[in-house]
């Protein structure tokens, strides 16, 4: 089912008119309402009168996370506070958290794009959904909640955590749809195993997973363990939260509802448009948001984009799974390293759990990469040399992917911190 067939299947040419009109309208709205953008537009010497088409978008300045932090808490909002109906906050690792505000219209938009995402994933009105994303300041829980209500699903607002209770609810209520982070889906599978619950017999047939990057191999593992269709949903609170893009049943890229969120992929160094198929940083412009519209927001997520029409009938472009983050990406001895590359390797090695941590250290001017990998119980040998061989095998596999040397260290199961939200994959001890 396609939630809004008229828009989602519209020919790109017709859609372009809508995008162009909306872009003109939003930049003029922001010029009137937002002192931050007035300044930004002035500094970039953009002549707003000349912004007539969506093709003119590259004359507009970028927005970066620092713009939000510098105007903490509400400075980036275009709408007056009296028009803001909801606020969400995402934790930052440094400085002030990021605060986002939604007007009434923005909340409706949010529900709309999530309803589209849910349909993309295969949910239909009447389905029951177990939402195991955190509710509260995090956008995951409430975003899925609003969209599910709009689509006409029965919502079980579990929030994250209390894994045993999640599993009991699944067994007793038999919801067909699960929404949570992919790492939590795996964590629940582990717990199910410990409790003697046959995960393959679960009621979940569709899993909508997001809020952290995950690999194709991790998808296979989740699908195998739970016997469900694992669908990737993408979003970031600055744009709206989840619902910025979502896979359809083809699982060949995430559809971006580009009538409302206009995507560009740029080379993060030159800031020029990346060549098609070449990974670059995703940049998003919100074409209709009123509370906190953003122009050309640099997401820091690395993706590729594909404008070909999808087999599902939707005409929107599709972004790849997030390949990495411009800020999660670590450069070790000149090589770009993404945690997902290491995850992919581990998932393909029998005996290694996809729970890992990457430690980067600088020793006498040379960067060293150490990967902690949890040892799977069934793979334990009481012979040290066997375990050493296993370590070496993993490091060889990783080396063949990254083409730099790594040291692998086996650690006890469950010793790497599990998170019910995002996990801390990289510890960079270098003082750069």
């Amino acid at each position: 089912m396609i939630f809004n067939k008229q828009v989602e299947c519209l020919a790109p040419r017709a859609l372009k008119d809508i995008q162009s009109k909306r872009l003109c309208r939003i930049v003029n709205y922001m010029q009137r309402k937002s002192p931050v953008y007035q300044k930004k537009f002035a500094q970039s010497r953009v002549i707003l009168r000349k912004i007539k088409s969506i093709n003119d978008i590259d004359h507009l300045p970028f927005t970066v996370k620092e713009d939000l932090r510098d105007t903490y808490p509400f400075g980036i909002f275009s709408a007056p506070m009296s028009d803001i109906r909801e606020i969400h906050v995402s934790s930052g690792t440094t400085g002030n958290p990021t605060v986002v505000g939604y007007s009434k219209e923005d909340l409706d938009l949010w529900a709309n794009v999530i309803a589209r995402s849910l349909c993309c994933a295969g949910a239909v009105p009447g389905d029951m959904i177990q939402i195991a994303y955190g509710y509260g300041l995090f956008t995951g829980g409430l975003g899925l909640h609003y969209g599910s209500l709009l689509l006409g699903l029965t919502v079980i607002p579990c929030s994250s955590g209390q894994t045993k209770r999640q599993l009991k609810i699944m067994q007793d209520f038999r919801p067909r749809v699960l929404a949570c982070t992919p790492s939590y889906a795996l964590y629940m599978a582990e717990t199910a195993g410990e409790l003697g619950i046959d995960a393959k017999k679960s009621s979940w047939k569709i899993g909508i997973f997001g809020a952290e990057p995950w690999s194709e191999a991790m998808r296979q593992q989740i699908e195998k363990r739970w016997d469900l269709e694992a669908i990737d949903i993408y979003g970031l609170s600055e744009i709206i939260g989840p619902g910025v893009a979502c896979e359809c049943h083809c699982k060949n890229g995430l559809h971006v509802p580009w009538d409302v969120f206009y995507p560009e992929v740029i080379d993060p160094k030159t800031l020029k448009k990346a060549k098609p198929g070449i990974p670059g940083e995703l940049v998003v412009t919100t074409l209709t948001k009123l509370g906190m519209p953003l122009i050309r927001y640099r997401t820091r997520d690395i993706v590729t984009i594909n404008y070909e029409k999808c087999a599902c009938g939707r005409t929107s472009p599709r972004i790849s799974k997030v390949l990495g983050r411009t800020d999660d990406m670590i450069v070790v001895r000149g090589v770009n390293v993404f945690p997902t590359q290491i995850e992919e390797v581990l998932l393909n090695i029998e005996g290694a759990e996809p729970h890992y941590q990457i430690i980067v250290e600088r020793h006498k001017g040379l960067d060293r990469l150490e990967v902690l990998v949890e040892l799977k119980e069934s793979f334990f040998s009481d012979e040290v040399k066997q375990l050493q061989n296993f370590e070496q095998r993993i490091s060889k596999e990783i080396e063949s992917v990254l083409s730099i040397g790594v040291k692998v260290r086996l650690v006890e199961p469950k010793s790497i911190e599990r998170s019910e939200g995002k996990s801390k994959r990289i510890i960079d001890k270098r003082s750069l």
């Binding site: 012979e383 086996l410 006890e412």
Partner: protein, 143 residues
């Protein structure tokens, strides 16, 4: 006659050995002997205990990676040449030792040699044939 040894994976982290030994003590598992094989990153604790199944359960319930391995223990006189005599037999019969350790029996003037072989049954047959006493599970209680 084979004896059951309990092996535990120990991450190279402060207090991990103590944790393992402490929980076994709390559950009244009697450790007859132990040895640790290690490299820079981790260790493998190998133990002969009075009740291997119980030890395994206790360790696993505390999230240790533990397993059970069959080993062969032989008894030799605790004097010079005791170990050499056994190794000579094994060498002569081309029995490959994966690892070994030894301890002294309290009540008798004997030493116990613990072996892990790639082919346990062949090793036992060779030892028996050469009149080297292979220790049974029942003997463990007396150590």
């Amino acid at each position: 006659m084979k004896i059951t040894q309990v092996s535990v994976f120990l991450e190279n982290k402060k207090g991990r050995l103590f944790d393992a030994i402490r929980i076994l003590g709390e559950k009244a598992v009697d450790i007859k002997t132990l040895t640790i094989a290690e490299n820079k990153d981790f260790g493998v604790l190998r133990m002969i205990v009075d009740n291997p199944q119980k030890a395994l359960e206790v360790l696993k319930s505390h999230d240790f990676v533990a397993s059970i391995t069959e080993i062969v223990a032989v008894e030799v006189d605790d004097h010079p040449g005791g170990l050499a005599k056994v190794l000579k037999v094994l060498d002569g019969n081309k029995i490959n030792i994966e690892y070994m350790y030894a301890f002294v029996e309290k009540r008798a003037d004997k030493a116990i040699l613990v072996f892990r072989f790639d082919d346990l049954d062949k090793a036992i047959a060779v030892l028996n044939k050469n009149n080297i006493r292979v220790v049974g599970k029942k003997d463990i209680a007396n150590f």
